[in-house]
């Protein structure tokens, strides 16, 4: 069966820690950094469970600050 490998990058300085990407992700990949903030003081989003990403772009679509870019590789 084909295996789907996904990954996202987050522009952590643009991120405002709104959490919308975290709840939009169907695979529980994302979370907000608990003890770290960016230059504007926001707890930014990151891939807490990178292995689960399927590259579906749900997170990127709902992000109001266009912080997220998505990558996808399908292994045959």
């Amino acid at each position: 069966m084909a295996k789907i490998n996904g990954a996202v990058t987050v522009n952590t300085e643009r991120c405002k820690g709104c959490n919308l990407c975290v709840v939009a992700c169907p695979s529980g990949v994302l979370d907000l950094k608990k003890n770290e903030v960016n230059n504007r003081g926001y707890h930014y989003a990151y891939m807490a469970n990178p292995d689960k990403c399927i590259g579906c772009s749900s997170c990127a679509l709902v992000c109001p600050d266009a912080c997220i870019e998505v990558y996808r590789v399908v292994e045959k």
């Binding site: 919308l20 709902v62 992000c63 109001p64 870019e69």
Partner: protein, 253 residues
């Protein structure tokens, strides 16, 4: 597979639109305005209209839209965006001319401009961000505010006997002979974002084809004005806004 092997240019399936520049948007975290800005930038880029697009920004939280999307812009006095768009499109009929307006701007102070531009069938697109509140000025009641909804100027909730009824102005606009396309969309979920993008594309194409006035309402959140977290605001929107502002095409000719 290692992350390094996945995160390569050839594997990229979602890219930030290049017309959205690096300026840090002033919107509150989680505000729907940001999502719609991103879609406007994406659609103009995909349609190859960046050299001919002229936006008219409103008074309201979106007043600085011109700082974020790298196309030509005008900035209208409060509510007057459809009038400025009318003049611009008539003088330069080959341009894509659109307004971007909040519910206070479009359905309160700018009601006359909006209705008459639509009724004249101006070949413009009106993007209408309905968050049921005056966001910019601190969360006062708007014509669109729902019955029972609490705002700074109706702290115990909007009452019909005192404040009148919420105004679904897109339904009025759909009745006018000058509109060709009136649709109500939202951006709280990935699927909804995709639909709003398709609606914007259709509206912009209508404007370029000279088919009349297109209106894309986006039922939106103002989590700051609503005094909710962004995630809770998205939930409140689904539970409360769609009963008065149901989604879908109101007119598609």
């Amino acid at each position: 597979m290692e992350l390094n092997d996945i995160i390569r240019p050839e594997n990229r399936v979602y890219k930030r639109p290049s017309l959205l520049n690096e300026a840090h948007m002033h919107y509150c975290p989680g505000c729907s305005h940001g999502v719609v800005h991103k879609l406007v930038a994406e659609v103009i880029e995909e349609m190859g209209l960046q050299e001919v697009a002229i936006g008219v920004s409103p008074v309201g939280c979106a007043v600085f839209a011109y700082n974020y999307i790298d196309i030509d812009w005008l900035e209208a006095a409060h509510g007057r965006a459809p009038a400025m768009a009318t003049a611009t499109k008539r003088l330069m009929p080959d341009k894509l001319v659109f307004t971007y307006q909040g519910d206070g701007d479009l359905s309160a102070i700018g009601t006359a401009e909006t209705i008459h531009a639509a009724n004249r069938g101006e070949n413009i697109t009106i993007i209408f961000i309905n968050n049921a509140i005056y966001g910019m000025t601190g969360g006062q009641m708007a014509p669109t505010t729902l019955l029972g909804q609490k705002t700074a100027t109706c702290p115990y909730g909007r009452r019909a006997d005192l404040n009148g009824y919420p105004l679904a102005i897109s339904n009025l606009l759909a009745q006018l002979d000058g509109t060709c396309y009136v649709t109500r969309q939202t951006v709280y979920s990935p699927a909804a974002v995709r639909k709003t993008k398709a609606a914007l594309k259709k509206a912009f194409q209508n404007s370029m084809d000279g088919k009349g006035c297109s209106v894309v309402e986006v039922v939106s959140t103002c989590n700051t004005g609503w005094k909710l977290t962004p995630v809770k605001a998205n939930e409140w929107l689904q539970e409360n806004m769609f009963a008065k502002y149901p989604l879908g095409d109101l007119k598609n000719e």
